[in-house]
């Protein structure tokens, strides 16, 4: 599979589902202001609280949906986040509507009726938004210990650094350097792809993604900026080129080592799996 190129300008699909709550709860704001104008402080307060809770809930639910979409887009079968955004959002919305139903209307529904509204809101949110993807139910996936939220952040940062290296390399005239930088970025991308396929590797490659890749970006950008100011034929220019060449060699070695490490990890996992299977078969008397 070809590595998908990261495009920071790529638009996220519109989250229409997440907008519904903003629209539905919006009338509470003018209603709260009118109540305040008429001197009904408790009613105004309840409506204001309901509005604020509904807006917070809508924001959290949208965040939950966006994380889920991101996980689907990147083929990550993971627990979306340590925070259950959509469930928390639904809870806040239910609380907000409970307050509005009880205190926010002149003919209030009373505690029982208001509680029924809250339960209905929870049910509606569950049906309309879902609370969590299937990842949570899968113990293997939950046990890995990295959530979609962290993973997406890690991968996005790394992609940003790769793109920055590519952009900086366009300003470098030296063909050899540009070729080597191209190889480096494609190597780094293939590491990202390995991690997307098997996020267990994310923890192992974290240092590479965060520290080394960022170092490579800084050096490349620095070289792209300064090499034009230094005359190419002079001693300074030669030293700069030699230093940059040495750094590129180091980066290439690090990328190779990282790829090797990920491969070895996968192989050793496979070894363990084979051993466990063999033990199991022996124990059960098949072999």
């Amino acid at each position: 599979m070809a590595v998908k190129r990261y495009d920071p300008e790529a638009k996220q699909p519109a989250l229409w589902r997440g907008i519904l709550l903003y629209v539905l709860a919006f009338p509470l704001l003018p209603a709260a202001l009118f109540a305040l104008q008429d001197g009904h402080q408790v009613v105004a307060l309840a409506r204001g609280a309901g509005f604020a809770l509904a807006m917070t809930a809508a924001t959290l639910i949208r965040k939950g949906i966006r994380l889920d979409n991101e996980a689907i887009r990147r083929n990550l079968r993971r627990r979306a986040s340590t925070v259950r955004y959509r469930a928390v959002g639904a809870g806040l919305l239910a609380l907000g509507m409970f307050l509005v139903a009880w205190f926010g209307l002149y003919t209030g529904y009373g505690p029982f009726g208001s509680a029924l509204f809250a339960v209905a809101v929870l049910g509606g949110c569950y049906l309309y938004y879902d609370f969590d993807g299937p990842g949570r139910k899968d113990p293997d996936i939950a046990a890995v210990g990295i959530t979609t939220e962290e993973l997406v952040e890690l991968l996005d940062e790394a992609e940003g650094r790769i793109v920055a290296i590519e952009n900086a390399s366009r300003d470098i005239a030296n063909v050899e350097f540009r070729d080597r930088l191209r190889r480096i970025t494609s190597g780094a991308r293939s590491i990202l792809e390995t991690i997307e396929r098997d996020p267990v590797d994310a923890r192992r490659a974290r240092k590479f993604l965060k520290v080394y890749l960022d170092g490579a970006r800084q050096v490349t950008e620095g070289y792209a900026r300064t090499h034009r100011a230094v005359p190419a034929g002079g001693d300074d220019g030669q030293t700069l080129e030699d230093n940059f060449r040495r750094v590129l060699t180091t980066i290439e070695t690090v990328i190779d080592e990282q790829q090797q490490k990920l491969l070895e990890n996968n192989l050793s996992e496979l070894d363990v799996q084979i051993e466990v299977l063999q033990l199991q078969l022996e124990k059960e008397g098949v072999t």
Binding site: L28, F117, A120, G124
Partner: protein, 35 residues
Amino acid sequence: MPKSLQRIIGFFILLATVGQLSCQALIAQAPLVLG
């Protein structure tokens, strides 16, 4: 239950609860504001 049906039911429940309460709050205010 199919996902789309679930969504439609959820949509109407939210409309009938959140939408109803907020509109009720606003409309209840209308006579006071206009009068």
